[in-house]
Subunit: 131 residues, 2 copies
């Protein structure tokens, strides 16, 4: 099938699919006319990539997951380790965002939010210690 249908079946934009070929994540055949020709196998890989990316895995991780996906002798422990690493990473990101949030909320609460220039948010950014 052409890239348009592969796109619909994988929920990935054609541009992204071409990019994935560029970085050797999928290797579709070529038709006589030079068009890419996707097999159902190829579409499975694309759908796999779409789902993995949407779960937050990087391209490097997707490459690894894809190789495990296609390895009949894989150990599920290897897959689980990747997932747990990702969970740890997500936890760190959440912690970081929550800490940013706390700071911003504290600053915003102290700001009158009126038409006067006095502003503890600006003061904080400027490094003013007092107030």
């Amino acid at each position: 099938m052409n890239i348009g249908e592969a796109s619909q079946q994988s929920s990935l934009p054609p541009k992204t699919i071409r990019y994935y070929e560029d970085i050797a994540l999928v290797k579709p055949a070529r038709a006589e006319n030079g068009y890419r020709d996707y097999s159902t196998e190829d579409v499975h890989r694309l759908r796999f990539l779409q789902r993995a990316r949407s779960l937050g895995f990087t391209i490097v991780e997707c490459r690894l997951l894809l190789s495990l996906y296609e390895d009949d002798h894989r150990a599920s422990a290897d897959v689980k380790a990747i997932a747990e690493d990702k969970i740890t990473e997500i936890d760190r990101k959440i912690d970081h965002l929550q800490s940013l949030r706390l700071t911003l909320v504290a600053l915003a609460q102290n700001c009158e939010g009126d038409d006067k220039p006095e502003c503890p948010i600006i003061d904080d950014l400027a490094g003013v210690r007092d107030q």
Copy 2:
């Protein structure tokens, strides 16, 4: 002062400081020898940028905050609005990450994590509906 000292006083790498000049966030003077020459004003701006970036503001937002910082007739409401938008954005990011986390934890919990190939994580990525 030279870029090295400006770097120390602002906690920003020299590369970043040069980049900020490139995108016109700071405009240091030049000494006779061609070296950048930072005033204390410039260093204040750099410190402001360092703090704002560390709180998660984008370069575009920093540019806006910087102009408010230097506007004696600013309305604190404008600053507060930017901060509140950022909080909303952080909330969305946290929500997204927590939803990813939930999915990944559920998948990881169902995975034996042994040396056998059966793996619900891979099955999910592959779009296998039935477990």
